[in-house]
C-alpha cells in the first residue's frame, strides 16, 4: 500500500480549511502538541503540518491565481528518513506513511534540511520535529464511520479539492484521477519520488471583460431591476 493525497489545484479555493482542520485534529493526536508562539502577540507563529500558499501564474491580464496547499509528500525515496541519526524518522513499510517517533527525536533539524517540500517543522516547545502523519490515528480508527476514515484535511475540504487513497492500486480513485487528469509531482528533478500528486488547472475559456457589445433586452431588464431594488 502507498497511501497519499491528490490535490486538485483547479478546485482548491484557498480557504485554509484543510490547514485548520489538520491543526485541530493533530493538536490532540499522536504527535501533539503543535505549539503556537505568541498566538495573540505581535508575531504570531507556530507549528503546522499543512500550509496553503497563493501564486499568480502568467502575466496580467492573462494571469491566474492558484491556491497551493502543501503537506508531507510521503516520498518513496524519503531522504528525511535516511539522514535521521536517531532513527526517529521512519517510513512505514505497510502503507508508506512517513512518521517521526516523538520519543526518539533529538531536534537536530537535519531531516528538515533534507526535505525539499518544507514538510517538517520543529516544535520549540517539545524540542522535537513535527510533520504530517496523514492522520494515521484517524484513517485506521475503527470507531470512526468508514466514510470518515480519511485525513482531516480531506474530510473537511469544502470544495472537495483533496482526495486520499492508495496509489499502488491502479483502480483507486486517486490513481484514476492522476492518470486521467495528468497529475504531477513537485520538484521531480530532485528524485524524491513524492507520493502526493497535484492535478493541474484545467484550461478554461477566458471570460471577456471588454468590447462586450450592446446589452440585449434581457440585460437591460436586469439592469433596470437592479437599479430599482434597494441594496
Amino acid at each position: 500500500m502507498r497511501l497519499g493525497l491528490v490535490i486538485d489545484l483547479d478546485v482548491c479555493v484557498g480557504c485554509h480549511a484543510c490547514a485548520v482542520a489538520c491543526k485541530e485534529w493533530n493538536a490532540s493526536g499522536t504527535t501533539a502538541p503543535m505549539t503556537d508562539y505568541q498566538p495573540y502577540g505581535a508575531e504570531p507563529s507556530g507549528v503546522w503540518f499543512n500550509r496553503i500558499r497563493h501564486y499568480e501564474v502568467g502575466e496580467y491580464p492573462n494571469s491566474k491565481t492558484i491556491n497551493f496547499p502543501m503537506s508531507c509528500m510521503h516520498c518513496e525515496d524519503a531522504d528525511c528518513v535516511t539522514v535521521c541519526p536517531t532513527g526517529a524518522s521512519y517510513k512505514r513499510a505497510e502503507d508508506g506513511i512517513v512518521l517521526v517517533d516523538q520519543t526518539k527525536c533529538m531536534g537536530c533539524n537535519y531531516c528538515s534540511w533534507a526535505c525539499p517540500y518544507g514538510a517538517r517543522e520543529l516544535d520549540r516547545e517539545s524540542g522535537t520535529m513535527k510533520k504530517c502523519t496523514l492522520c494515521v490515528d484517524r484513517i485506521y480508527d475503527l470507531k470512526i464511520p468508514v466514510e470518515e476514515r480519511q485525513p482531516a484535511c480531506v474530510n473537511t475540504c469544502p470544495a472537495h479539492a483533496r482526495m486520499f487513497g492508495d496509489f499502488d492500486d491502479p483502480n483507486s480513485a486517486v490513481s484514476i484521477e492522476v492518470r486521467e487528469r495528468g497529475g504531477y509531482a513537485l520538484l521531480p528533478e530532485l528524485g524524491y519520488n513524492p507520493t502526493n500528486q497535484y492535478l493541474p488547472v484545467r484550461k478554461a475559456k477566458p471570460i471577456p471583460t471588454e468590447n462586450l457589445g450592446k446589452p440585449g433586452f434581457k440585460e437591460k431588464l436586469k439592469g433596470f431591476a437592479n437599479r430599482i431594488v434597494k441594496r
Binding site: 504570531p44 536517531t86 526518539k104 533534507a114 525539499p116 517543522e121 524540542g127
Partner: protein, 313 residues
Amino acid sequence: MHPAFSVIFFTVSSGAGFGLFALLYLADALKLGGGLSTNQLLIAGIIGLVLISAGLMSSMFHLANPKNAWRAFSRWRTSWLSREGVFAMVFFPFAVVYLGLTWLGMKEFETLRMLAGGMSMLLAWITIFSTGMIYGCLKTIRQWNTPLVPANYLLLGHFSGALLLLIVAQTGTVEVSSYLNIVLALLVFAAALKAIYYFWIANPGVVSTINTATGFTRARVKLLDAGHTHGTFLTQEFGFQVARQYALFLKAFVFSAGFLIPLLALFGMFGTLTSGLTIIVAIMALLGLIAERWLFFAEARHVVNLFHGAQRC
C-alpha cells in the same frame, strides 16, 4: 540557511582538532624534522583532543532535545550525521591509547603505539570527511551538494591543524622548516579549493526553479501570499539571506585573514621564527575559517525558498 554559531564553532574546532591529530601522527611516524619530543607529542595531542571535545560539546547546543542525543549513534548505516558521531567516538580510545603509550614511553609497546596512532589518524580523516558529507549529501541545497564540500572540510581542518602543530613544533629543538612547509602547502591547496568552490557556486547551472517547484512550467510564477501571518520555522531556518556586498566583504576577509596574511607572515618568518607570531597567525587564520564557515551556511539556499517566492535556488 540560518548560520547557527554552535555548528560553526563545532565544525571549525573539531576540524582543526582532527587535522592536528592526523598530522601529529604523521609527523611522529615520519620523525619529521628530527621527530617531536614526547612532551610536544603530548601537548599537541591534548590540544587536539580538547578542540575535538569542545567542538562535539558545542554541536549539542543546537539540539532542541539533547536528552535523546545518545540515540544519534544508532543510524550509522544511513546517516552521515550518525557516522560522524560514531567515528568521532571510536577515534577517542585509539587516540587515548596512542597518547598514553607515548607518555609511558615503553619501547616494548612501540608497535601498539604506532598502530593505535595510525588508527586514530585514519578515523580522524574519516570523521572530517563525514562532517563534510553531512552537508554534501543534501540534494535540497545545491551549494552543498558537491564533492568540493568534504574536500574543503578536509583541507581546512588539516590547514588549521597544521598551524597549531607548527606552534607546538616551535617550542622545542625540532627542525621547524618541514612543519612550516606542510602549513604552506596545505594553505595553498585549501585556498585554491575554496576559490574553486566560490567560483562554482557563483554559476548556478541547472537548478530547481519556482516553476519546477509548483509544476507551472509554461508561465511566470509569482508568490502572492505565503499563507502565514508571521515567519514560520521554515522562514527562520531556511530564509536567511546574506546581502551580496557583505558576502563579497566576507570572502575578502576569508582570503586575507585565512590565507593571505598567514602566507605573508609565515614567509617572512622563514628566518626568524617565533611561536608568539605563529599564535597570532593561527588566531587570524581561525577567525578567517569562522567567517568561511559562516558564509558556507549563510550562502546556502534551500529549495524550500522556492515555495516562499524565490525564483531559483
